[in-house]
Symmetry: C2
C-alpha cells in the first residue's frame, strides 16, 4: 500500500486542496451554499474511492454525507465519523495567505480546515481508495461526515436516532485530534466536554453620559468584569457552587503516568510568546489542559469601541463564556449551575440574561479495548513507536452521543499537531502527517479485523 | 427684549434646526467637511446677528470661529465659549428619528447636538442679535466657538496661547451644562476633571483553541476582567494607590447644603429603569456624581463577538477606561498613577499597554464672584427663582486652560436638563429652555456690567 500511496501522493494532495478551497463555514449563514458544495465534494470522492454508495442526507441544517463499502456482512464494520465544515476564518488580517486559497509552504498545507477537519477526513477517503485499489480492505466501512460540528452538531443526534439500522457498526473511527509530536505519536484516551453560554448585562435603559451619571449608576461593563472575575479564586479555581462535584480526580499513579509524556515548558511558552503559563494551582500544564475543567471568556463586547474616545456608560455589556468539562461533569448540569450562580451574583442594579449554546459530554476511552489496541499497533507499525495514551483538552460532543444512541465506542486516532493552529489564523497541516495518516489508517483496519477475530469486537 | 424674542421666535428655532442638520462629528474623520460647514454657519450667523467681524481661525484640526462686537473699550468684555462639534450618533438603531434630521416633538427639538452644544451656543448668537436689535447691549462681547470639544480640544490650547491679546476679556461665559429642572434652576459651581486611557492586554501571540490550551494559558479577556474588577473594592472605592491623595473632601456643612437641592431617587431610578443606584459607600447619589471621583469602562472588546459560538482564547483584549476627577486631582498625575498601577497588577503571563487620551482639570467656581452673582440675578429675573449652586459631574477641560492662559474665570450658565440625553440616542433640547436661555443671557450682560461698575470685575 505504501507504493500505491507514493505513486498517487500528488493527486491525494491536490484533491485535498480542492476541498480546502470551498469556504464551508457552518457558523455563518452566508456560506450555506459553500457548505453544501463541500458535502457534494465528499460524496463524489467517496464514490471515486470505491464506495458502494454515497449520498447527501438532508437535515434541517447542513447535510450529512453517508457512504459505505460492504464486503462481507460477517466481518466487522468500522464507522468513520468526521466533519467537512470549518471554523470562521476571522481575524482575516492575521492570515499570511487567504484562508480559502491553500498554499504549501515548509511542507505544510496552509488553509482554514487543513487540519480541522478536512485534511484528517480526507485521509480516510484516500485510505479507502488505497485499500480497495491494492486489495487490502479487510472489513466493512461506513462513512458519516457531517457539516455542523463547529456549531454544535445540532442535527446529528436526530439523524443518528433515525438511522440506527443503517449506522450499525462495531466501532467508530475519528480523526479530529492530534499527536504530541511527529517524534512522539500518541492516541487520544479522553476528551473534555463543553458548556457554552452567552451572557447579557443591562444597566440603565439607555447609554448615559459618564460625567453626568458616572459614580451613581452601575456600569454594565464594570459589573460584567466583576462578575467574570469572581468566577475564579486566587488559585484559578472556579467558584461556581457545585462545579467540581462530579469531577473524577485522577490517582497519583495516573498523574505520574501522564507526566511521563514529553513536554517542554520553555518551548511551549516560547511558541506562544508568553511570559508564563497560567492556571489552577497544584496542577501541571499538561494536567490543566486535559484532566481539569476550565472557564474561558471567548468574546466580550460593550460600549464604545471605535476610533478615539467617547465618555459613555453603555446600557449593555455582553460576553460569550465556555467551560471545558472532565468526566463525570454533565454539560446540562454545569450549564444550569453556571446560570443559577451568574444570575445570583448579579447586583440589584443590573439585569442579567444567560443564554445557553450547544454543549458536549466529556469522554474517556478505555485503553485496553480491542479498538484502542488495534490503533496502537497501527501506529507501532507505521511510525515505529508505541503511541502514548493522551487525554485531549478539546471536545467532540458527538462521541458521547454515539455511545448513547448506537452503543458504540469511538477510537480517536488523529494526526494533527498543537502547532497546526486550528481555530486560529494560518491553520495548517503537515504533508508528512497527511501521508502518514493515509498509511496508518489501513493498518488500523487490519489489526482491528485480526484482533476482533481472536478477542471479539 | 422679550417682545423681540417672541416676535422672532420661529426664525430663532428654524435657524437652529439648520445648524443641527449639519453632522459635525469631530471624532470621525469622514465628517471633516461637515464640521467645517458648521463652523461656516456659525460665522455667517454671527455677522447676521450684528457682530463687527467673525472669522474661521485655522488650526491643525478643525477651525475655531472667532467673532466680536466691541462697543466701548472701557466697558467690560464677555468672552463666550462653546463648541459646534457633536458626539458620534451611534448606536443609530436606537434613535426614533435620524440624529441629523431634527424633529420637534412634545415641545423638544430632537437631534444630535440639540443640547450639547449647538442649542446652547445658538442661544448666545440670538441673545446678541436681540440685544443689538433692541439697543440693549451693555458691554463688549467676543465669541470663541471651537470644533473639537468632543475629542479633547487638542488645538484650543495653542490657539489661546497664540491669541492672548485678541482674547482679552473679563470673564468667560459658557453654556454647556444644565439646570436641575425647569422648576428648579441652578448654576454650575464646579466641574469634574477627566483622565481617559486605552488599555491593551496581550496573552498568546495568536488566537488559540480553547480546548487545546484552555486552563493552561492566561486568557487576556479573563485577565482584563480581573484587572478591571480589582480597580474597585467592595465599597466601590477605587484601589489605585494614591488616587484619592489630592481629593478635597467637603465639610459636613457643605454636604448638608448640597443635600438641600431637590432630588427624587425613585424617579431617578424609574427614568433609567434600574433596580438600584450603585456607587461609593457612604455618599449620596448627588455626591457620587459631583464631589467624588469615578472610574468607568467606556468600551471593552476582545475575542469572537459574531453570530453563534467560537471556542477561542483570543490573543488580545482591549478597553477604554476613564476617570472623572474632583479638585484637586491632576489629570496628568492620575493618568500616571493609573498607568503605573495597571502595569504593576498585570500577571507575568500577559503583556499590557496603556495609552493615554486627552484629560481635563477639575474646576470649582467661586459663588461669591461678581460673575456668579450676575448670573444668579439674571436667573432670578428671568425665572423668578434664585438658582441653586450645583457641582456638575461632567468635564469641560478648557475651563482650567482658560484660567491658566488668560487668567479668566468662567461662568457656567447652562440651560440643559439631565433628561436631554446628551451623548445618548434621542438627544433633545426643550423649546422652553432654548427661548428662556435667550431671555436670560442678556440679563447676565446687564447685571455683570452693573456689578462690575460698583465692585470691579
Amino acid at each position: 500500500m505504501q507504493a500505491y500511496i507514493q505513486q498517487h501522493k500528488n493527486r491525494f494532495i491536490s484533491e485535498l486542496l480542492d476541498l480546502l478551497r470551498i469556504p464551508s463555514i457552518s457558523a455563518d449563514s452566508r456560506y450555506k451554499n459553500d457548505v453544501r458544495k463541500a458535502a457534494e465534494f465528499i460524496r463524489e470522492k467517496l464514490i471515486a474511492a470505491g464506495a458502494d454508495s454515497a449520498e447527501l442526507c438532508e437535515t434541517p441544517g447542513h447535510p450529512i454525507v453517508y457512504g459505505q463499502k460492504i464486503i462481507d456482512a460477517s466481518l466487522p464494520t468500522i464507522l468513520v465519523y468526521g466533519h467537512y465544515d470549518v471554523q470562521p476564518a476571522d481575524p482575516l488580517d492575521l492570515w499570511h495567505s487567504p484562508p480559502f486559497e491553500p498554499v504549501i509552504k515548509d511542507e505544510k498545507i496552509y488553509a482554514r480546515g487543513a487540519c480541522d477537519d478536512k485534511g484528517q477526513v480526507y485521509m480516510h477517503l484516500k485510505a479507502l481508495e488505497t485499500m480497495l485499489a491494492t486489495g487490502n480492505l479487510t472489513c466493512n466501512v461506513k462513512f458519516m461526515i457531517e457539516g455542523e460540528e463547529e456549531v454544535g452538531s445540532d442535527n446529528l443526534g436526530n439523524f443518528v436516532k433515525a438511522n440506527k439500522e443503517k449506522l450499525q457498526a462495531d466501532v467508530i473511527l475519528i480523526s479530529d485530534t492530534g499527536i504530541i509530536s511527529n517524534d512522539c505519536p500518541s492516541l487520544t484516551s479522553g476528551l473534555r466536554g463543553l458548556s457554552y453560554l452567552e451572557v447579557e448585562v443591562t444597566g440603565p435603559n439607555r447609554d448615559l453620559h459618564s460625567g453626568m451619571y458616572g459614580g451613581a449608576v452601575a456600569n454594565p461593563i464594570n459589573i460584567l468584569c466583576e462578575m467574570i472575575a469572581s468566577l475564579k479564586d486566587e488559585n484559578k479555581h472556579i467558584t461556581i457552587p457545585g462545579f467540581y462535584d462530579e469531577v473524577v480526580e485522577l490517582s497519583r499513579e495516573e498523574r505520574d503516568e501522564m507526566a511521563k509524556a514529553p513536554f517542554n515548558l520553555e518551548e511551549y511558552k516560547k511558541d506562544l510568546n508568553i511570559g508564563d503559563v497560567h492556571g489552577e494551582t497544584s496542577y501541571s500544564t499538561t494536567e490543566r489542559v486535559s484532566i481539569r475543567p476550565t472557564l474561558d471568556v471567548n468574546g466580550i463586547w460593550g460600549g464604545y469601541t471605535g476610533e478615539g474616545s467617547k465618555t459613555v456608560i453603555p446600557s449593555q455589556a455582553f460576553a460569550k463564556i465556555s467551560m471545558r468539562l472532565v468526566p463525570n461533569q454533565s454539560p446540562e448540569k454545569i450549564t444550569e449551575l453556571f446560570t443559577k450562580h451568574f444570575l445570583a451574583i448579579a447586583p440589584k442594579s443590573v439585569k442579567v440574561k444567560v443564554k445557553p449554546h450547544h454543549g458536549g459530554e466529556p469522554v474517556v476511552t478505555p485503553i485496553d479495548s480491542v479498538a484502542f489496541r488495534a490503533a496502537s499497533k497501527a501506529f507501532e507499525e507505521a511510525w515505529g513507536k508505541t503511541p502514548i495514551p493522551k487525554r485531549e483538552g478539546g471536545s467532540i460532543p458527538i462521541v458521547a452521543l454515539f455511545e448513547k444512541e448506537l452503543g458504540l465506542k469511538s477510537v480517536l486516532m488523529g494526526f494533527g499537531l498543537d502547532s497546526d493552529a486550528i481555530h486560529s489564523p494560518n491553520e495548517h497541516y503537515g504533508l508528512f502527517n497527511y501521508i502518514k495518516g493515509i498509511e496508518t489508517i489501513p493498518l488500523f483496519y487490519k489489526y482491528y479485523t485480526t484482533l476482533s477475530k481472536t478477542e471479539g469486537r
